[in-house]
Structures are given as C-alpha cells and as structure tokens.
C-alpha cells in the first residue's frame, strides 16, 4: 500500500519545466531512493511532496488523502518530515533548543528531556548541546537537522542528500540510523548521489532525468540498465 502517491505532477518555473508528469508511489515501510544527475528535478519533487512548491499540474496523496492544496505545516502534522538539501537549522539557537522545538508538540516534561538526551547522544551531539547550532560543522548541522526530522517521529521521512559533507564513516552511520528507524516502521524517501549509501539503504530506486521518471526498480536492476548508466552513472560504474 502506498503511503505517498504522486500522480501526474508537473512543476514549471516560467519557461523551465523542472518536473514533468511524474508518477511515483512510495510504499509504506520501505526505503525508497531517488537518484539522478544534477538538475533532474529531485529536490523540486521533494519540495512538491512536502508542500514548499505548489504543483503546476497533478495531485499528491498521503495515504488516501489528497494533500495537494495543503500547506507544509499541515502535511507535517499528517506525518511527514523533511531534511532539506542545505542544512536548515536554527543557527542562533542552542543545539538542544533546536531539538526541543521539534519535540515539544509530541512530548513534555521529563519525557521530552529524556528524548532530547537520547537523540543528542544518537546524533553524537551531546557534548555540543549548549553550543549555538550555527557554530557546528556542516556535517554536524546535517546530523542536527536529521535529528529534528526524526524528533517528529514521522510516518514518512524525506531526506534530501542527508550525507552531503559527511565522512565515509559518518555516511555509513547515517545509513545504519536510517535502517534502524525503517526497521521500526518508518517509511523513508531519500535523494542521494552517493551510490554506496544508496546500496546500503535502498530497497527500491527511482531514477529521475530531465524532470521525468527514467527508470525504477531495485538498485541492481537499475545498475544493469545501459540507458541509466549512460545518463547518470557512467558506463564504468555500471558493472
């Protein structure tokens, strides 16, 4: 059963068509990766799903509910959560307050504080919890934003290039973290360029190219597709 379904969605910015007639279904409980070369429309599609852009055409369903006209906060309240491509945290606020602001609608009192501590430890940020988020490294800010997204305990977690700026070890840890939350039932849609990371987490992969769906399937089937190799992976990576 699809948790989120994108039906015939297009997005045009003036004369530029960033996304064109995309149909995409993300099944409940899966980790679905969206890949494609730069400019393929991946981040635009994310912003359409989460409501930061209104689609020019098409509709978006969350479960059975048409959320096309809903504002982002309403979609988040339904159970979506997103980590943006560039770190988007509250830079002038302490790290703990960033997490607290994300948690406070769901938990209060000692429960909230315990969950703050758990997340900060999980994200390797416990020692920096009193620092302003703006002084963290790029990778740490990525972690913090992932933590804020996780704090909402969403049904659908959207991650736009979650490992950008991370070391291979941090990238691997991020993959394991995502898999652990998926094992608890969270559906995850990831935009990512790092193929090792995609191999680590993806159960299904969709390739986007020039704003259209180009291919979909398992990563192995995608890698064996000559056309995909040509437009994105480069033939040497395909085998």
């Amino acid at each position: 059963m699809s948790l989120v379904e994108v039906k015939g969605v297009s997005k045009r910015f003036g004369g530029l068509t960033a996304v064109s007639g995309v149909d995409l279904a993300v099944n409940a409980g899966e980790i679905h990766c969206l890949i494609g070369p730069n400019g393929a429309g991946k981040s635009t599609l994310f912003k359409l799903i989460v409501g930061l852009y209104p689609p020019t055409e098409g509709s978006i369903l969350f479960g059975t509910v048409d959320i096309t006209a809903e504002r982002p906060y309403a979609r988040v309240q339904r159970g979506m959560s997103i980590k943006m491509q560039a770190p988007s945290v509250f830079k002038e606020l302490p790290v703990r307050q960033n997490i607290q602001t994300a948690l406070q609608e769901r938990l209060s009192g000692s429960e909230r504080i315990a969950e703050e501590d758990r997340l900060l430890t999980l994200l390797n940020l416990a020692a920096d919890s009193d620092k302003l988020a703006g002084v963290l490294s790029h990778g740490q800010q990525q972690w913090l934003e992932i933590g804020m997204a996780l704090a909402l305990k969403p049904q659908l977690l959207l991650l736009d290039e979650p490992t950008a700026g991370m070391s291979p070890e941090e990238t691997f840890r991020t993959g394991e973290l995502i898999r652990s939350f998926n094992a608890e039932g969270m559906t995850v849609l990831v935009v990512e360029h790092d193929m090792a990371f995609v191999r680590q987490v993806a159960q299904r992969v969709t390739v986007l190219h020039l704003g259209r769906i180009f291919a979909r399937g398992t990563l192995d089937s995608i890698l064996q597709d000559e056309k995909v190799a040509e437009i994105y992976l480069g033939k040497t990576h395909a085998h």
Binding site: S81, R96, Q100, Q104, E105, S129, D130, M148
Partner: protein
C-alpha cells in the same frame, strides 16, 4: 510554571539576578516616600512608555518583525480610552475604558496583522506597511478639527487633540500622582514577568524559531503565521496599554503622539537597549526616557538629535544593543569569577535551559 521565568531566551537567572530584581523593585516602591510629587508624576510618565518598548522587543527582538506601527496602536488605544471614558461617563467606568481600549488596539492589530502576515509581508516591508498605517491615522486625526468629528460627546479636535476625559478612577478616587506610579510599577512587573514566561515557553521557542528560520519552523509542523500574529497582537496590545495610560495620565492626546517622530522613538529605545532581551529593553528604555525627558526640559531639539545620534551609534558600534552588550559582559565576568571559584552564587547570562 514559574520555572519559565528563567530560560534560554532571557538574560538573568539564579539567586543573584532575582535578588537584584527585588532590590530594584523595593527601591521603586520606596521612591515616592522620598521624592516630591512632581518627580513621582514624571517617573510615572516615563514608565508609561515601557509597555510599548517591551511590546516592540517581543515583536522585533524575539519575533523578527520590525513594526514601525507601535504608535498606531498607541493612538488607537489612547483615543479609544478618551472616547470611551467620555461616552461612558467617567468615574469607575474609566477602568472598563482602559481595558476596552487595549482590546480595541489588539483587534486592530489582529486585522492589520492578518492581512500582512497571511499576505506574506515580511522584512523591511513589514516596517513600511506599519509605518504607513501609522501615518495614515496621524494625518486622519489631524484633520478632525471640525465639530462634525465627534463620537458621542467626545470631540476629536484635530491637531489640538482630544481632552476632557477623566483619569483612571475608582469610586471617587482619581488614580494620579503616587497612586498612578504604583499602578505603573505593578503593571510593569506583571507584564515583564508574563513576557519572560511567554518567551521561555514552548510558544516562545516557536516565536524565536520563526525569527531564525520560518521555513524550518513550518517544517516542524507549526503554522508560523499564527505565532507571528499572536506576537504582533500582544506587542500591539502593549503599545495600546501605553496609549491608554498616557491619555489617562495627561487627560489629553494629540495626533503628534502618533506621527513619525513619535513612531521612531520606540525603535531607538529598543535598538539602543538590546532588542533580543526583555530586561535590557526594560532597563535601557527607562534610562533613555529619563535622559530624554531631562534634556527636553532645556531643549527638545537637542534631545531629538541625541536620540538620532544614539541610534546611529547603536547601528555602527553595538548592533545588538548597548545595554544588552554591557549585561552580557557583566554576566561573563561574573561567570568567570564563578569558574575561578571566587564565588558560588548563580549568575545571569543568556544560556540554554539546564536539563
């Protein structure tokens, strides 16, 4: 609930800070016992404006909305108080007039704020729209000199201003002089503590998060427009409280108290003090008002020039505000002493809430 009095959004925490607070409060309460009634009346006058400054601090410093329209709501409530007090017959009804005039200002803020915030107006345009609305009201009231401009028996009187309303009254007792001073002190304490609790609460977290990154705040599931509107309405209501108290204090109000020079003053007070902290705004605004009034006795032009110079100096030298900067330096110095083991008392500084 009272633990919200301290938190990451407010300067000052621990026994040392609250001891200082109580000492200042005790001094304020004892002041009329030692000062002559003229000085007490002047102090009451300074204190009237503090509400407007605290309201702007909430909107601008915490909410990131630079409103140039504090005197718009000051004027609405000020004239509202006059109209209501005259129409309701004065006496104890002035208390109701005070409350209703503040509610009137908040309703006006709700309407203006709704169209601005839901219309996506932010940043510098927020200031431009609020200033425009302020000037519209000031110019409108300035042309109401004719006898046809009246609401019931209350004449608006154009540039000469509205007069003839009773001061705040309970029974046969006029709240003036020392009584008004004590009312001001009590209201300031209530408003100051309530605002501290607000900004350190979950709502305050969302207000400052919206200031920092409204898109991220919305992506946490908050309808940031509602929080911005709430901030705007509360801040404007406080400006309205200043307006109603001002009219009650002087038993008159003129359009000049709404116009451009008046509208610029709260910006100077709050910018100089430190817009991101309530205590800095409270202290700094009082000092500036006191200084301004003292200089005005000799030359109003000199006082205005000084205000302009202070705003320039703030922008150039201490964009976060002079009083806040001094407060942080003092807090850091005190923290340093604590770390060296010289003292064990708690100290105040902006820092995250301890878990």
């Amino acid at each position: 609930m009272f633990k919200l009095l301290e938190g990451p959004q407010t300067l000052g925490r621990g026994k040392m800070f609250w001891s200082c607070f109580l000492v200042v409060l005790a001094g304020a309460l004892a002041y009329p016992l030692f000062a002559d009634s003229y000085d007490v009346g002047n102090f009451a006058y300074f204190l009237i404006w503090i509400f407007m400054a605290l309201g702007l601090c909430l909107m601008w410093g915490y909410g990131g909305m630079l409103s140039f329209g504090q005197t718009l709501f000051f004027g609405i409530a000020g004239y509202g108080y006059g109209v209501l007090a005259i129409n309701m017959g004065g006496g104890s009804a002035t208390i109701a007039a005070l409350v209703l005039s503040v509610v009137l200002a908040m309703i006006a803020a709700g309407i203006l704020g709704y169209f601005m915030i839901w219309g996506g107006i932010n940043g510098i345009f927020f200031g431009i729209v609020t200033l425009s609305a302020t000037l519209v009201l000031a110019f409108f009231l300035g042309q109401t000199a004719g006898p046809e401009w009246h609401i019931g028996p209350a004449r608006l009187n154009g540039f000469n201003g509205m007069k003839g309303m009773d001061p705040l009254t309970v029974g046969d007792f006029y709240i003036e002089g020392s009584a008004l001073y004590y009312v001001m002190v009590a209201l300031i304490v209530i408003v100051y503590l309530a605002l501290r609790m607000l900004v350190n609460s979950g709502i305050g977290n969302v207000i400052v998060a919206t200031r920092e990154n409204p898109q991220r705040a919305e992506m946490l599931g908050y309808d940031v427009r509602k929080y911005q509107l709430l901030t705007f309405v509360i801040g404007s209501g406080l400006a309205g409280l200043s307006g109603a108290l001002y009219t009650s204090w002087g038993q008159f109000i003129t359009p000049s108290s709404i116009g451009l020079p008046a509208a610029a003053m709260p910006i100077v007070w709050v910018a100089f003090s430190g817009r991101s902290d309530l205590t800095a705004t409270l202290v700094g605004s009082f000092l500036l008002l006191f200084g301004f009034q003292t200089i005005t006795v000799y030359s109003q032009q000199a006082a205005l020039v000084l205000m302009g110079a202070l705003l320039l100096a703030t922008v150039m030298l201490a964009p976060q505000g002079f009083v806040l900067g001094i407060g942080k330096l003092a807090a850091d110095w005190w923290q340093g002493r604590r770390r060296r083991g010289d003292v064990v008392a708690d100290a105040g500084r902006l820092q995250p809430e301890e878990s």
